[in-house]
Symmetry: none
Subunit: 216 residues, 2 copies
Amino acid sequence: MNVLVVEDEPKLADGLARFLTYAGFHVTVAGTLAEAKRQLEQPFDAVLLDVRLPDGEGWTLIPKLKTLKPRPAIILATARGEADDRVFGLELGADDYLVKPIVLKELEIRLKRLVKQTDEISFGDMTVDARSRTVTDAGQAIRMTNKEYELLLFFLKHSGEALDRNRLLDEVWDYTFAGDTRTVDTHVKQLRDKSPTMKRQLKTVHRVGYRLEEVR
Amino acid sequence: MNVLVVEDEPKLADGLARFLTYAGFHVTVAGTLAEAKRQLEQPFDAVLLDVRLPDGEGWTLIPKLKTLKPRPAIILATARGEADDRVFGLELGADDYLVKPIVLKELEIRLKRLVKQTDEISFGDMTVDARSRTVTDAGQAIRMTNKEYELLLFFLKHSGEALDRNRLLDEVWDYTFAGDTRTVDTHVKQLRDKSPTMKRQLKTVHRVGYRLEEVR
DNA sequence: CTTCGACTACGAGTACGTTCATCTTTATCG
DNA sequence: CGATAAAGATGAACGTACTCGTAGTCGAAG
């Protein structure tokens, strides 16, 4: 579990790093936005981002963070009471917010919670473990190919939504493809063939696309 | 989207209720733990829980909330700086935490993030969820074809208006069709057949077209 | 009596499911 | 490390199922 701590105050950065390491995270520290950008060549599970930095406001980094794959969880930290910053950060797409002074235990809890979200997803009899990219359905392990796995994950993350083919092509494939393609259909068929749960719950929405119907 | 606000200070409770209603939530207020317990016979999507209450600490309710199904999202609210409360609440299983004074916009953002979004229009006993393209009437799920769904949506968005066939053909169909067509009639019949509410409320306006009569 | 809407049934067109051939990527083994 | 095999991704082709729109008839309203 890799965490990037972006914090310019050396004492605080050091303290955070120590604590998080102790709590079982693997920590990297960046003191400036520029350095953070360099570090982000490597993948991170989460980024703890101070708002006040020597070379700019922390939240300017958020749009960039959101384009990364895998997209790291984003936690902002600001001096207390700056409520506007808080709202602004959340609206930009930060996943959580901490008010300084940082309570270490709280940081740990929030971090673990955010990271866990992307760790294991269950849906009916299915379980998808993001760490190992393993899928089981009704206790049976299912071997998924890359695309199948990513498509499945997207459906799970948007269960209930009617998703049209263009959206799927855009987000699961990198494609921005104009013409007509059966590719999505083919992969949907694979999912339905491999998993009984998908066979039951993955509905086609005529003239639109597909919808993963929630189990109740 | 039902939210239970547990807050004893009447002014604050009222303000919260107003704002959340405005933001599109359906709000119920409880002033004490005892009252909250009574309200929780009904299902809620989220509970906003003040820590200081006349008859006890708010977090004592958390274990009970976690046994409910559907399990509501739990947001705690406390006076600022009570960091221990914060950690304690999160460890007990609250999903999020707000520091008073509550910033309404922040509350809205956090609520919307925690609660699975539905984009629904309701009309009498009918509910149409745009996100999943599903329709229910009197609790029953109704399977709609694409055109039926779009026509229904158009009627809902223009309830009360008398809509002539040309307008419907223009806007629901892509048609710019001059001649005479029974197409609209056919689809109106489908709607009336499939949904009791439509059977009752979708009136024909002689020599003009149709009008969806508002329910009172 | 005339006109308009309700309703049924049918046919054309279209979108989806499925298979298959081709190209690409990944894995294996020397 | 490179060659070769295996597996996966892709999109075209074809069959099928479904939806939509049209026509014809009946009944009701004006």
